[in-house]
């Protein structure tokens, strides 16, 4: 059986999409000869030429803005922002145009754009290299937001995102870039808006995404030894949210803990807590708890493991809700 890192799987998804559809373009800072600072675009320029895979100047608003024009000209842009913390200059073009263009033109245009953003913390990175930007995008109507948690699903989700007719913000958990997964790359499997039950359990559901999936699975292991069995839900897609699977989980376990790296206030945990109340209040046997980053700027390397949800923080939250 083959083995892939997430970087290799993403690279393969880009390569396959470009081979399949000659209108697909890949661009961004350093994505050409270098293959991106994380090598996700490695070899693509050599294979598809420098017209379809090209470096841009350091201009994130410009990168997002040319996606709009290229879409109108019938191309499918797959753009890279070099890091989470450097995607903010592009927000205006994304919020004011990419998200709104189809609506503005009464459906006469569409923006089949993918913006890839290496995101989240856990890599002992410098300031601005550990941001969790999902709330900015998930709150912006008109966008879809996707976060893979492992190599094989990263291949699937990126392939689906590139094929999607709506603009997709594709957040790549950097701390999982080099983690290996065994299996075959395939597009078949759960569609883009579906959550994925990564572990079954009855006592509590851990709702999470990205790199925190692994951490929640670890926490579930620890808890299993205490005979507390946890269901682990990998959301995969933050917009749309898989409300059915969320509601089903609450009906099954009655208790939910949401885990993410982003700061607590208005992180995805807030939305999930609110949706769960709306969808399945009667099944809730304890408050939905949130184990998240804190409401402070992402810290330096020396403190990041005190900031990120730890197995200990997750297990202690689960213990709290199961004994509620």
């Amino acid at each position: 059986m083959a083995e892939y890192t997430m970087v290799a799987a993403l690279n393969a998804a880009l390569r396959d999409a470009m081979a399949k559809d000659p209108r697909t373009l890949v661009f961004g800072e350093d994505v050409g000869e270098l293959g991106g600072v994380y090598r996700v675009t490695e070899g693509l320029q050599r294979e598809f030429g420098s017209e379809r895979v090209f470096n841009t100047p350091i201009a994130e608003a410009g990168i997002a803005g040319i996606c709009v024009g290229l879409s109108l000209a019938g191309w499918r842009p797959v753009a890279e922002m070099q890091f989470d913390g450097f995607s903010y200059p592009a927000l205006d073009q994304i919020v004011s145009h990419i998200a709104k263009y189809r609506n503005r033109t009464r459906g006469r245009t569409s923006m089949p754009i993918v913006i890839r953003i290496p995101s989240f913390g856990g890599i002992r990175g410098k300031e601005h290299h550990g941001e969790s930007p999902e709330t900015y995008y998930a709150h912006t109507a008109g966008l879809k937001v996707v976060v893979p948690s492992g190599a094989l699903d990263a291949y699937r989700l990126l392939s689906l995102a590139i094929a999607d007719p709506d603009p997709v913000i594709f957040l790549e958990p950097k701390s999982r870039y080099w983690a290996k997964e065994q299996g075959e790359l395939a597009v078949d499997g759960p569609r883009m808006g579906r959550a994925w039950v990564r572990r079954e359990g009855e006592a509590c559901t851990l709702v999470t995404y990205g790199a925190m999936v692994t951490r929640c699975l670890e926490a579930a292991e620890v808890l299993a030894r205490e005979r507390v069995s946890c269901r682990v839900l990998d959301l995969r897609s933050l917009v749309p949210l898989d409300l059915d699977t969320l509601a089903e989980s609450v009906r099954k376990t009655g208790r939910v803990v949401v885990v993410h790296e982003a700061p607590r206030t208005l992180g995805m945990g807030a939305e999930i807590a609110a949706r769960i109340m709306e969808e399945a209040f009667d099944y809730l046997e304890a408050p939905v708890l949130r184990v998240t980053g804190y409401d402070v700027p992402y810290p330096p390397a020396a403190l990041e493991q005190r900031y990120l949800p730890s197995v200990e923080r997750i297990t202690s939250a689960v213990r709290r809700v199961v004994s509620y």
């Binding site: 379809r52 189809r102 609506n103 245009t109």
Partner: protein, 356 residues
């Protein structure tokens, strides 16, 4: 006080003087009926602009941004393009839209408040949606031009923007990318002296067209109230673009005769005298005198134009005033090709229980 009419000490490209006399080679390659058409389009534009001001006062439009005084800048430049070229307007380019054949009743839905920036068909009319966030459309124009270049099409894009827009980062990123990628794009700045209440000198300390050199593209300063000069420099820029020679920055010196929009009171920040001096440089008067003097048009042609304008404007009025609100369902209909289930539920609950 800096007088906007001559903000720089370099003379703009000018073919016809304010009094209508030729001061350059006025043979810009247009046939007589095309020369007349320029006049006709400027007259139609002005009549519609004034009608829109009236419609707004009568409550038939929400806020309206008039372009009176800028007819030559818009008509001359839009006229220089080919049908397959693509225009990226800001929010004041109704005259350019008229030249491009955009359905103006559809266009005015935007100002009526019944739909957003692109109620007309932007792809079919090669005229992007009205774009309000200042300078953002310039980047789109560059992206479109890059795409056209990849397709090896002999076309170009043209982005309209104001003097104020040149202060935005997006102007810069667009200009730099256009130059780096050799995009067939024309960056067309209508320097009308004001950005709402802010005069040019508080917006920029150097002449806008001189920015071009730093980007590695040609910069042209043109008399924006001289329709032939505008046509001619735009035509040249389009030909450069088509020939694979990359982008051009054009600065057209013109003037916004009216307020920034119907919500604005321009007397709060500028002198009647300045406005009066620009009235003397009116782009339509000037070109009319020139055409009459050169014999390319006569009084009866002008009368015909005015008649056509009257009738057309009445039709547009009838079209726009008869427009009702869009169906509520449209609120939900266009945000996504494949809307999230949660949004579908909102749609259902909103339309099933419209007051609930």
């Amino acid at each position: 006080m800096v007088i906007h009419e001559d903000p720089y000490d370099v003379a703009p490209v000018r073919l016809v003087a304010p009094d209508g006399t030729a001061v350059g080679d006025t043979d810009v390659g247009l046939k007589p009926d095309e020369l007349r058409d320029l006049l006709r389009l400027m007259i139609l534009s002005r009549r519609l602009d004034r009608e829109c001001m009236a419609l707004q006062r009568q409550g038939e439009l929400t806020v309206y941004p008039p372009f009176e005084g800028q007819e030559a800048a818009q008509v001359g430049s839009a006229f220089a393009l080919e049908p397959d070229d693509f225009v990226f307007p800001s929010f004041r380019e109704l005259a350019a839209a008229i030249v491009r054949g955009v359905d103006v009743v559809e266009y005015l839905q935007y100002h009526r408040g019944t739909w957003h920036g692109g109620p007309y068909d932007p792809i079919a009319s090669r005229f992007a949606p009205i774009c309000v966030p200042v300078a953002t459309q310039i980047v789109h124009a560059v992206g479109w031009a890059m795409g056209a270049k990849l397709d090896r099409l002999p076309v170009c894009s043209l982005a309209y923007f104001g003097d104020g827009a040149t202060s935005e980062g997006d102007f810069h990123e667009a200009a730099n990318m256009a130059a780096v990628f050799g995009a067939p794009a024309i960056l067309f700045c209508q320097n009308n002296g004001w950005a709402i209440s802010v005069p040019l000198r508080e917006q920029a300390a150097g002449p806008i067209h001189t920015r071009a050199e730093g980007y590695g593209m040609p910069g042209v300063l043109v008399d924006g109230n001289d329709v032939l000069a505008v046509y001619s420099v735009t035509r040249a820029a389009a030909e450069r673009a088509r020939a694979g020679e990359g982008p051009t920055l054009i600065e057209a010196l013109t003037y916004r005769m009216g307020p920034h929009s119907t919500a604005d009171d321009a007397t709060k920040y500028r002198s009647a005298d300045e406005v009066k001096r620009w009235r003397e440089r009116d782009p339509i008067d000037r070109y009319l005198k020139h055409l009459l003097a050169s014999g390319a048009a006569d009084e009866s042609f002008v009368a015909d134009c005015e008649d056509e304008a009257k009738e057309w404007v009445a039709d547009v009025r009838a079209g726009i005033t008869s427009l009702g609100p869009p169906p509520v369902d449209e609120l939900f209909g266009f945000a996504y090709v494949e809307p999230p289930e949660s949004l579908e539920r909102d749609r259902r609950s909103s339309t099933e229980a419209p007051d609930g």
